[in-house]
Amino acid sequence: MYELFKDLGSWLVSGEQWTGADGIGHRLAEHLQYSLLATLIAAVIALPLGLLIGHTGRGAFVAVNLVSFGRALPTVGLVVLVFLASGLSMTPVYVALVALAVPAIVTNTYAGMNAVDPEVKDAARGQGMRGHQVLFQVEIPLALPLIMTGLRLALIQVVATATIAAYVSFGGLGRYVFDGLAQRDLVQVLGGAVLVAVVAVVLDLALSGLQRVLFRRRTAA
C-alpha cells in the first residue's frame, strides 16, 4: 500500500508527466475545455428554462423532479447510445455531459426564483414594474446566489464525469484512467482519479469563495 502511494507521488511530481501532448498539463487543459463548454451549453439551455418556470410558476413539477431524473441518468449508457447513433465524435460526450448538467441548473434556478419572498414580488408589481422588470430587477438578483450554486454544482459534476471523453478515445484526465486500466498500470489509474478529484475540489472551493465575496453585502433578507 505504502509502495503504491510512493509511486503515485513520484508519478504526480515527475517532470516528464507534466509536459508534452500526453502530459498532465495538456490533459488538464482538455479536461477543463470539455467541462466548461459542456456546462456553458447546459447553462444556455437550463437558465432560461429555470427562470421561465420560476417566473410564471408553471411547470414547477418538472423543475423539482428533473434533478432526480438527472441523478438516475446512466451517463456512460448515454454516451454509448449517442455514439451508436452519431458515430465517433465529441458529440456523444457533450450530449451526456450537458444532460448531466441541465437538471442541476434548472432545479436550483427554479428553487432560487421560488424562494423570492412573494411579498417582495407583489410589492414590485404594485410599484408598477412590468413582468420583465420584476424578473430582471427583483427576481434574478434575489435568486442569484442559488442560481450560482446550481452552476457550480453542474460544473463540479461535469468535471468529475468528463473522464468519459477518454472512453470514446478522446483526451482529458480520463485518458490516464482508461489507459492505466488497459495497461494494468494501477499508479496511472490512481493518478488520473486523484487529479480529477483535486480539480473538482479546487474549482468548488474557488467558486464558492467567489460566491461569498459577491453576496457578502446582503446576508439575511
Partner: protein, 427 residues
Amino acid sequence: MIRFDAVNKRFPNGTTAVHDLTLEMPEGGVTVLVGSSGCGKTTTLRMINRMVEPTSGTIRLGGKDVLTQDAADLRRGIGYVIQQSGLFPHRTVLDNIATVPLLLGWGRRKARTRAAELLETVGLTAEAGRRYPHQLSGGQQQRVGVARALAADPPVLLMDEPFGAVDPVVRTQLQDELLRLQKDLNKTIVFVTHDIDEAVRLGDRIAVFRTGGHLVQCAAPAELLARPADGFVAGFLGAERELKLLSLTTLAEVPVERARVVREGEAPPRAGDGGPCLVVSARNEPLGWLDPEPGAPEVPSPVRPLRDTDSLLAALNESIASPTGLIVRVDAEGALTGVTARETIHEHAGRRHQEAARAARKAQEAREGNGRQDQGEETREGGEGPEAREHREAGSRKSADAVPPSPAAPAASAPGTSTPKTPGGAG
C-alpha cells in the same frame, strides 16, 4: 376621488371576496376600510391599482375607469404600501425609495435626490439611506415603505395594514407621523386595517366590512361610534365605543377652574385647610399634588398635565388616576392654566355623546328621502335587516357628501350616514 360602482369580486375557487360594493372615497381624505380577516377589505384596496381585477362593476379613479388604463402605468401613479413593507432586500434604502421615479424614467441622479428628500420627510437619517432594509428596525422599514410610495408624489396612496407588524408604541408614532404628513400632503388615502382604534384615529371616513365582502356602514368616525348601523358594527366597535368617541373630542371646550396652588419651596398649606394643593415650579409648571393632612405622603404625588389639544378620553383617564379627582391643565408652554373636576369632564363626555348621536340622526333624517327610493328594488339574501340594507345603500351613495372632519372636530360638522340602531334588524 375613487368611486366603486356595483363592484363584485369572485375568486375562481368560488369565494366571494367583495359583494356588490358601491362606495366613494373622497379626494384628500383618509378612507379606512375595516373588518375582520376575510371580509374583502384588502381585495377592495387591491382592485384600485388592479393588483386584483374585479369580476364585475367599475372602479373609477379621478373619473377614469381603472380597467381602461395600462396596469403598470396606473400603479406608477398610485402609492402602494403593504404590510411588512415589501422592500427589495438587494437594494439600498435610497434605491428602494427611488423605485418608482426610476421606473418613470427620471434618471438616476434626480431619482436619488428625490429619495434623499423623502428620507427626511419620513424621519430617517441620510445614513439610513445607504443601508439595506434588513439592517433597519420594523418601524424604520415601514417608514421606508411610506417614502417609497410617496416618491413620485402620487395623488392617491393605498396602504394595506402598513403598521400591522410593528409594536404598539412604534405604531402610535407612525400613525402620528402619517397624520402629520397628511396635513401637508393632502393625499387621497385608502387605508386597510383590522384595528378599530387605528381606524378611528386615522380615518376621515370609516367603511366597515363584514365577512363575505359586504359593506355594512360607511361614516365619519364620530357618527359610526355614536350610531352604529347594526349589531355587527356595534360588536366590531367593541364595548368601549363610547369611550372611543371621546378620543375624537379635545378638552378645549371644557371649562377651567382655579386651582389651589403652592409654589415649590414655599411653606406647605396647613392641615384641615381645604384638601390637597398643587405644587408648581417657579415657571408655573405643575409638579404634583401635596396633601397637607397628617399621615399623607410628604412628597407631592405626580401629575400628568393635559393640554387643550389632548382628548376628552385622556382627561377622563387622568381624572380616574388623579388622587383629587381633578385634572391639571396647562397651556402649550406647559404653564398651569387651572384644573377641571372629574364631574365636569364626565358631564361633558355625556353631552358629547348626545351631540354626536343627534348629529348622526339629523344627517340620517336629511337623507331619508334619498334612502327610501331604493327600498323594494333590491333583492338580497336573508338574515339582514332592512335598516342595515337601506343604510348600506345610503351609506355608500352619500359618502361623498360628507365633509371629512378633522379627528378633533365635533360630530355636528360631520354629517354622514347612519340609521337608527336596530341590532338584528327586524324585517
